[in-house]
Subunit: 344 residues, 2 copies
Amino acid sequence: MPRNAPVPRHVDALPTPALVLERSALFHNLDTMSAALPGARLRPHVKAHKCTELARLQHERGHRGFTCATAREVEGMARAGLGDDLLLANESVDPDRLRRLARLDARVTVAVDSRETVRAAAAAGLREVLVDVNVGLPRCGCAPDDAGRIAEFARRAGLEVRGVMGYEGHVVGIPERARREQLCNEAMEKLARAHAAVGGDVISAGGTGTWDCNAVATEIQAGSYLLMDTAYAQLDSPFRQALFAIGTVISVSREPVFAVGDVGLKALGMDHGDSAIDRPAGRVWFFSDEHVTFSPAEGSAPSVGSHIRVAPAHCDPTVAYHERVYLVDGEEVIDAFDVDLRGW
Amino acid sequence: MPRNAPVPRHVDALPTPALVLERSALFHNLDTMSAALPGARLRPHVKAHKCTELARLQHERGHRGFTCATAREVEGMARAGLGDDLLLANESVDPDRLRRLARLDARVTVAVDSRETVRAAAAAGLREVLVDVNVGLPRCGCAPDDAGRIAEFARRAGLEVRGVMGYEGHVVGIPERARREQLCNEAMEKLARAHAAVGGDVISAGGTGTWDCNAVATEIQAGSYLLMDTAYAQLDSPFRQALFAIGTVISVSREPVFAVGDVGLKALGMDHGDSAIDRPAGRVWFFSDEHVTFSPAEGSAPSVGSHIRVAPAHCDPTVAYHERVYLVDGEEVIDAFDVDLRGW
C-alpha cells in the first residue's frame, strides 16, 4: 500500500501482506520495560522498529536517549524532534554522512573503535563519542585493553569521550537464564575494565535478551522488546508478541492438503529461519518470495480469501521490508505508522 | 542514500551498503538470453529486479511481455509505459487491487487457479486470465485435471482464457542438468495435459534454472538471469554474476583476525543462507543486521575504509531491500536506477 493511502478500519480490509502491531501487547511491552528501566536506564534501539511514531511512544514514557544503527536512523530521529541524545552505536568512516550528523539539530554521539573512526568523527565536526569495546561478539569494538588508548587518542583529537559501549550479542539469545547471566557477567567484566581505563558517565550495553541481567550497564540498548519475535519468545521474558504479518489465503489444495498465503520471504526476515503460522494453527512448509505454503492443523480448513497471521522469526529485518505498520486492537485498525527510518 | 540524491562518479564514493550492477555482466546476460529466447519467447520476471529501468533494457531487446509477482509491479510497469502485455503470475482476491489493475492503460492478464480467483478477476473487470497449474511445486496452481473445468468456469464468467502457466520451481535449483531436465519434462507433461484441456495460445513457465531445457513452454518467465546470485551460479549456466553489494570495512581485529563490513542482513536476502565475500577473498563468519564479519584470506589485510564486494545468495529479496541500484563499469559509476517496484 502506498504511503498516504487511506487506512482501512477493519483488519480484514488491510492490503496484504501487512505488518500489524497488537495494541495490548505493544503497550504491555512499553510499560513493562519503562517500569523496570525508567528514563535514561533504557536507551531504546530504533533499528528494531525503524519508526519515529513508535520511538515517540518510548520518548513519552521518559526514554529521551535512543540507539541507532545507521545514519539514516539518526537523521530521521532528529528530524522528528527526537534528538535529545542520539547514539550511533556503529562505526562509520563516511565523511558525508558524518558531516550531516554533525550538522543536525540534535545531540549526536558516535561509536569509535579505532584511530580511523576517531579521525573521521573529529574531521566531520562531531563532538561526542563512546569507545566501542569487543566484549565477546566478534564484530565491531576494540580489544578491552585498547580502550584507554583510543579514548586518549579521541580526547587529543578534541572529542568528548562520554564512556564505553559493548554489545553482548553472543549472549542475548541463550535460552537458559543461568548460562545467559553467567556469560553476560563475563562480557560485562570486560566492559567494566575498559570503562575503568576510559572514564565517562556512560556504560551502554545490553539487549532484549539481557535487559534484566546486565548489572554493569548504566543504560540498556534493547529494541526488540517492543515488537518481539519467535526467537526472543524462546527466552523467559515478560514481553509479548506484538508484531505479526497478516496475509490472505490465495490458494488451497485438497490432495495433498496445503494452503498458500501471500506472506512471503520478501515480507519477513529469514536469517533466523522460517517464521511461524500463528493463526489459524498450521505448520509452515516453506516460504517463497511472495508466498507461504503451510498445512493447516487438523480440523482447520482455511478458505481462499481468509486471513492468516504469521509471527516473524526476527523482527528487525522483517520491519525493514515494510513501508507501514498498522496498530490494531483485535479486528479494529486504530492507526498506521510509516516505517520512516528504512535504508541507510 | 535518499532517492534523487546525486550519483557519485566513482564506486569508492558510493554510500554503503550499495547495490551495484556490473555493466559488462548485465549486458552479457541481457544479450545472451535475448539471442536464445528472442522477443515473445521470453517474458522476463520483474520480481527479480523490481526496476522499470532494467525492464526497459529488456523491452528494448524485444521482450514486450513481462511477468509480475505483485499488483505494485504491474502498476509500476504500466505507469512506466511498459504495459504491452503484463502477466500477474500470482493469485489475488483483493478487489481494490484487481480493480486498479483493470483500470490501467495496459494489457493485464492474471493467474487464476480456483473459482474464487476467477470470480474476483471477473468482478474487478479484468478481461484476460491464464489458468495456473500445479506442476509439482506445492504452491499456487490447480491440479492438472481441474484446469479444464476452471477454464470453462472462467469463460462462462466472461473472461478470455489465454492459456496456462505452471512454474516448475521445485526443479530450477537442481545442479545436475540431466536430473533437472528430467524433472522439468515431467512437470511440463502435466502442464501440456492441462493446456490440452484449457486451450489458448500461451503456455507460460520456466525460470533461470530451466530456460534452456523447457521444451513445452511457449514463453519462459526467467528473471534472475539478468542479475544472478550464488545459488543460480551453482548451475551450468552462461549467465554471469552482475549484482553485488558493496560495503565499507568499518572495523578490523588482529587477534583473532577478522574484519567487519557494513553490508548486513538488512541489505541481503537470507533465505538461501549467507551471501559470499567476493572481494577481497575471504570467508564469511556471520551476518548481523548491519554487519558482515569475515576472515580475510591469507595475505589480504583489509584496512578500515576499504571496500568489500559481496555476491548475494538470492537476488530477489536482496534487491527488495534497496532503493537504488548503481550501474558500474569497473570503478566508474555510470548510472543509478530506482528500485521503483518494491512493496505490494
